[in-house]
């Protein structure tokens, strides 16, 4: 009897905790606040406080990713374009490259410009990237280099959303419908 009592209590507790009006996944009770030390597109060291004051969408990837990363970032660009101007101005997308060997600040600046002014590229030392990845329980890894020095990077496909105080709020996945993503970002900007 005790074997199922604990999971049952846990799921009832978790169900009670999550806000049923979010259409993407509510992670406010299970994920920590934003906390990192990285390097921005100007080569400047920054921490999470530099990004307080706006709703933040956090995505991990790398610029040599031909398919998934541009597809995800383009989808976020499309979602933010559907927001009212004054709401969009309160949203930023932090693209954290887990491939600092190739993704220098200059490369990141050029890359994020493609998606829109609210897209910001960050990267850093492996230990700082690991700290941020571990904090949000995501992982990344490098594939084998070919003869030309090309390699793939495996990385989390999740987008994390934080309120302007850096508190974790939502997990947005590739299979969440676009209008659910737009609706939740809009609600997050309004509600925090």
């Amino acid at each position: 009897m005790m074997k199922w009592l604990l999971p049952l209590c846990a799921s009832v507790w978790l169900a009670g905790c999550s806000d049923q009006n979010w259409r993407t996944k509510d992670i406010s009770e299970v994920m920590p606040a934003l906390d990192f030390e990285l390097i921005d597109e100007h080569g400047k060291p920054v921490d999470e406080e530099a990004y307080f004051g706006k709703t933040t969408l956090l995505y991990f990837g790398y610029t040599h990713c031909p398919d998934v990363c541009p597809t995800t970032l383009a989808r976020l660009a499309k979602a933010t374009r559907q927001l009212d101007d004054e709401v969009r101005d309160k949203v930023q997308v932090l693209f954290v490259s887990v491939d600092p060997a190739r993704d220098t600040p200059e490369v990141l600046a050029q890359y994020t410009d493609v998606f829109g002014p609210q897209f910001i590229g960050l990267s850093g030392e492996a230990s700082d990237l690991d700290a941020l990845a571990n904090r949000f329980r995501i992982s990344y890894g490098y594939g084998e280099e070919d003869a030309e020095g090309n390699y793939d990077v495996n990385h989390s496909s999740a987008v994390f959303a934080f309120n302007p105080a850096g508190e974790a709020r939502l997990l947005i996945r590739d299979n969440d419908p676009l209008e659910a993503v737009v609706s939740d970002i809009d609600r997050l900007v309004a509600k925090g």
């Binding site: 990837g61 610029t63 040599h64 990713c65 031909p66 398919d67 998934v68 990363c69 541009p70 597809t71 970032l73 383009a74 660009a77 499309k78 490369v107 050029q110 890359y111 410009d113 493609v114 998606f115 829109g116 995501i138 992982s139 030309e148 090309n150 793939d152 495996n154 990385h155 989390s156 496909s157 999740a158 590739d174």
Partner: protein, 146 residues
Amino acid sequence: MNRVHRNCAMGMLALLMGTGAAQAAEIEVSDARLRLLPGDLPGAGYFVLHNNSDDIVTLSGAESAAFESVEMHVSMEQDGMAKMHSIDGVDVPAGEQFAFAPSGHHLMFMQRTQSLSVGDEVEVVLDFEGEESLSVSFEVVSPVSQ
């Protein structure tokens, strides 16, 4: 008719259809676009392959004068992780179509040999097993235009 006679007939038919043609009439490609990233970052190629023939068709590779190398890749998500791996061929059954589309199969274009801009047309040669190659014009698009 038995297989030998059928192969002979098909062979003669192929010859009759003319080897000078740039297009293999039974295989068509639509919606071909090359999604460009800045600098020398790899590009992704997407298209729909229509196999209008009575036989299975196997896409075995691609080349382009605009890039040093072109590979075929498939993206997948496994336990919340995005991964991709290269593949040697894609079979398209008779009468069916196959889409190379975002988050799935894509051509990966690496190391461009010339500068490219959104709006350009890039010639890509698609290779097929036992069939003529097909030259396809890919429109260069931006990731945010879709």
